[in-house]
């Protein structure tokens, strides 16, 4: 019988007992730390899903505005002191946008596309402005602009409220309160 055959046939006889318990005891202290990325992503999604809905709402709204303005029907509603309303909303929106921009990008959880849509003087606004210049004194366009301001302001308020709510819920803040 040659050596290979002998060893293969008696293989179990060549096996020793396993390592001592110390090896695992030492290994246990070096285990990779649990990764939390997945949990964090789920948490982020739960926390920010409604912000994606904002983008959809703004885009749909812009689309509806276009459709609305293209209709030839006269709108009977006349909004008084329209200039003041406009400057009021513009100031409020700009103030809220500034507040929103103060937040760290990660905590606000808004992507660049959503932010762009929230900006006061974005493409939708410019489109409305152009329409207004082409049809000065058209109340219908002015009303559409006001509606657009109102909606934007509501959304900004909502974002900031949500952010404050989550900030207050965070363990670090609770600790500070206690």
């Amino acid at each position: 019988m040659n050596l290979e055959e002998f060893i293969r046939q008696n293989r179990s006889g060549f096996e020793e007992e396993g390592p001592g318990p110390d090896v695992w005891a030492r290994l246990e202290k070096q285990l990779p730390q649990p990764r939390k990325e997945k949990g964090r992503v789920v948490q982020m999604m739960a926390k920010h899903w409604w912000k994606a809905a904002i983008l959809v709402a703004l885009l749909v709204n812009a689309g509806l505005l276009l459709k609305y303005m293209n209709t030839r029907q006269e709108v009977a509603v006349v909004i008084p002191e329209i200039q003041e309303m406009e400057s009021y909303y513009s100031a409020r929106i700009e103030q809220k946008m500034d507040e929103l921009k103060q937040l760290p990008a990660a905590t606000a959880g808004l992507d660049s596309l959503t932010l762009k849509e929230l900006e006061l003087r974005n493409d939708t606004y410019k489109m409305l402005e152009k329409e207004l210049a082409a049809n000065p004194g058209n109340e219908r366009i002015r009303a559409a602009m006001i509606r657009y301001y109102q909606m934007k302001l509501e959304l900004l308020d909502r974002i900031l409220d949500e952010h404050n709510k989550y900030s207050n819920d965070s363990p670090s803040t609770q600790k500070d309160v206690l």
Partner: protein, 188 residues
């Protein structure tokens, strides 16, 4: 005898253990370690020849195994992967000990004629002892070929030497084992 937990390979449990390890589940690391520790410790023991060193090498290898589980492709063999990491750690241990795998044979062990392969001379104890007395380079080649089932080509790759050198070293290693066993049986 099932030396390696190959039965883990084709069962969902392997994926589960690996998946749980990837999630950082301490219990899964424990299970994975215990599935392989005995077989892998035996490799370390054969390769290093010292139980304390074998344990150190085993520990280092498992630190790397745990750390790199993410890199294990889903379709590759867990056992082969674990074993390769353990073997590589054993080889770096030997390299640190200045073991040169390409060393040429010294003349005093020139092959003798007349060493028959009488099976009665071979016992587990004498063969084990004889392998233990081999120079580390020969012992490594013999262990990798007979015990760890690597081919000459694979061993050449692991040791970074030519396949023909592996073959030569393996033949010489076997020859020496026979001679040592023969001498021992004559002494008895």
């Amino acid at each position: 005898m099932n030396l390696y937990p190959d039965n883990l390979e084709n069962l969902p449990v392997t994926d589960q253990i690996v998946a749980r390890c990837r999630m950082g589940d301490a219990r899964a690391f424990h299970d994975l370690y215990h599935a392989y520790s005995k077989a892998m410790y035996n490799i370390c023991l054969r390769m290093t020849g010292h139980s304390a060193d074998a344990e150190d090498v085993l520990q280092e290898a498992f630190v790397q195994i745990f750390k790199n589980l993410d890199k294990l492709a889903t379709d590759s063999s867990l056992t082969a992967w674990v074993k390769r990491i353990v073997v590589n750690h054993c080889l770096s241990y030997l390299r640190k000990k200045k073991v040169y795998f390409e060393e040429v044979e010294d003349q005093e062990w020139k092959s003798e004629d007349g060493v028959d392969e009488n099976e009665h001379m071979l016992t587990v104890a004498t063969v084990k002892e004889a392998i233990g007395q081999l120079p580390a380079g020969y012992r490594t080649v013999l262990n990798l070929y007979i015990f760890e089932d690597y081919s000459h080509r694979e061993i050449a790759g692991l040791l970074n030497i030519s396949e023909s050198t592996v073959k030569t070293q393996y033949m010489r290693a076997k020859e020496r084992v026979r001679q040592i066993v023969h001498l021992k049986s004559k002494r008895i």
